[in-house]
Amino acid sequence: MTATDRPAPARLTMRGVTKRFGATVALGGVDLDVRAGEVHALVGENGAGKSTLMKVLAGVVAPDDGVLELDGRPYAPRSPAEARAAGVVMIHQELSLAPQLSVAENVWLGDLPTRAGVISWRTANDRARELLGELGRGDLDVGRSVRDLSPADRQIVEIARSLAVDARVIVFDEPTSSLGSEDIDRLFALVERLAARGVAVVYISHALEELFAITERFTVLRDGVSVATGRTDETSIDALVAAMVGREVRELYPRSPARTGDVVATILDLAGERGVRNATLELRRGEVLGIAGLVGSGRTELLRALFGLDRVKSGDLKVLALEGPRRPAERWRQGVGFVSEDRKGEGLALGLSLADNLVLPRLDRVSSLGWIAHSRVERETARWIDRLRIKCTGPTQRIAELSGGNQQKLALARVLFADADVILLDEPTRGIDVGSKAEIYRWIDELARSGDEPRAVVMVSSYLPELFGTCDRIAVMCRGTLLPPRPVRGLDPHEVLLQATGASA
């Protein structure tokens, strides 16, 4: 950054920020400039140092070296409270609200307005309502428990909380990972509003397309060093990805020629106990079928009903020669695999080892006479760790210690270990780094189109570029109804979006 092209004053400056944890260098001298009123993208693969850098900014971690300035003054927060008091606020991936407490209480958490030592609820509620109003959500009931709110509304509460301390820098860490596309648009509008108020916004996201929609400038971190910075409209996704991974990723979405085979699953007028009202579908080997739709449209529930996790109310269901609804245990044995959208809550048992997680659905494959052969479990796990290039210390490592991308690879490995022919993937790349994403796309292509055996893959995703990149056909789910799938060639993303919102059904 030269002094001449400085349309706005630098709100936040970081120079040569360094942090070591034992022998590992988490940050090796990072420079970052964020101006007042701009939205600045911070990108990098998992482990590139983004979260450590943000922890430094938030006063959670003290840097070993380097200088931080806020509005030209030295800034060295010793605790998150100090950072907050200085007007530096984080909006986290995992929202940090107290779910049992009311909206107003959360907005003022830790700083409830008092009168003569007694909490003044009227002031708290009124001011919370005011702040929400500034965010365009004055209609939100400030007395409601936060746990009753949708993820999007919870985020609004968290943003309101940042306004309550008159934030000067707001960091959004993966803010869209739990939102549907309508809510994302609303969030973008909000972020722009914050910037217009003069807030410096740092925006972290793995969804690179998003960055082009709302950020003005970007900084790329790789291996703890800032490797590129510049104006977002002067770069491209390919250039960003190349900077992030340090090499050219030739093709994010590999696509081998389709080789559609026999029908493996037929669904006719299926209605589930929740979410799914009407779904008709034919799934073939050798294809990747995408299911688009808003969060809450019943996409997840459709997969769950297929897999026997949700009850089926009516309709016909036939998967691989087995008619009718079945339990998950039968589905696994039959050759159907499922990767959940909720890695932590459902997909993986984080407290257990990689090995335990991998073999769980098919313990029969690693036991003889009902006796589990732990040597075989470890061997199989080691094999899949190799094949999917999962970074870990070994099969007995606890899965909680892995990065999101590696966890997700294990969830996929479980399906491969189970030798599934029909593979149901629900948001398989949510919240994971680009490198892992690329590998998962490559696996999807191989499983369906280029491997020795053509398998059928169903992929639910909120992320249209990913669906268009990987799928052969896309079906849109809207308010519980599945629209007929259409070949991805000649399909217009805009049209899919309109269908998803129910505007053109």
Binding site: F307, L309, R327, P328, A329, E330, R331, W332, R333, F338, S340, D342, G345, E346, G347, L348, A349, L350, G351, L352, D356, N357, L360, P361, L363, D364, S367, G370, W371, I372, H374, S375, A382, T393, G394, T396, Q397, E401, R414
Partner: protein
Amino acid sequence: MSEPTRRNRRALPRVLATFGPLVGLVATWSLFALLSGADFVAWSNQRLMLEQTAVVGVAAVGATAIIVAGGIDLSVGSTIALGTVVGALVLRAGGATLHAVLATIATGLAVGAATGTLVVGRWARVAGPALGAWIGVLVAPHQGPWIALGVGAVTALVVGVVGERITPRLPLSPFIVTLGLWGALRGLAKGLGDNQPVYPPSVGGLDALTRPAESGLAALAAPSVWILAGLALAMALVLRYTRFGRNVFALGSNEETARLCGVRVERTKVWVYVIAVGCAGVAAVLQLGYLSMGDPTTASGHELKVIAACVIGGASLSGGQGSVLGTFVGALIMTVVDNGCTKLGLDNWVQEIATGAIIVAAVALDRWRARSAD
């Protein structure tokens, strides 16, 4: 429980996880050996300590499975008391020793089934039979046993089936279910014993269970110790080498993952409670032999000792983690403290403080270990 851990840089924390409690046991034992000398170190005292561990130990072996599965059982003590009363009643009515033993264990199994069924939310399946039994007992003195049986069975069936049909499943936390049973089972034991201990004419040789014999294996240690060892080994093998066992770990670590991976969550839970509380039934047999009577007020406080044994042994109350060996060692540590303090002539209150401190320290050490392993 060890396995080859070459290639595995986390071998040390893992070894510590398994042997940490063992190190604690050796340390505690050595401390008392140093302080109190020959009296404590004598073989006869080691044997005595093992015997003193048997009742809590057997119950704790079962509780390990429950805690690993993410549950908890606060009603162990009441179950043991109820078991001794049932066994003593069978003996008093002239039943054979075997029948008394079976009835006592069956009590445990039935309580386990009821606990598990309530936890998974099938309340009608428990309420029906319970109500039926109660009505049967009320009717019997007036109408004779057959009519009572009929009325009871019809009630059980109607309440059970109708209740199941018209209400949704209402899963409850095991803490609440067993807190309820903690009181209810104790009450039931008192009711069955008519508010006093049940003295059978003889306990039919059950007293021999808790005493070392003149010859044979039982000369080395009382049969109760061998029963504890056998059950512990069996449970350890089941938890590690069977699908059921691995499912229990998965269930305790993350129930939704277990469900997704095809584990029949509800069924597994019920079985965990049946097996585990069945162990409490076995503990009740030992207690019956030890007391030579059925006592509705016995084993009060055992539920917490059992949980303490599991926790000292490295089990996590949030589930998915724990080992039978650890629990066994945990139970021994508590006995060593009790016994050692007695040998030193320390008052009971000192023991209680020491045990309390050990529970907290054990968990704190475990946390510290887990953190340094990351």
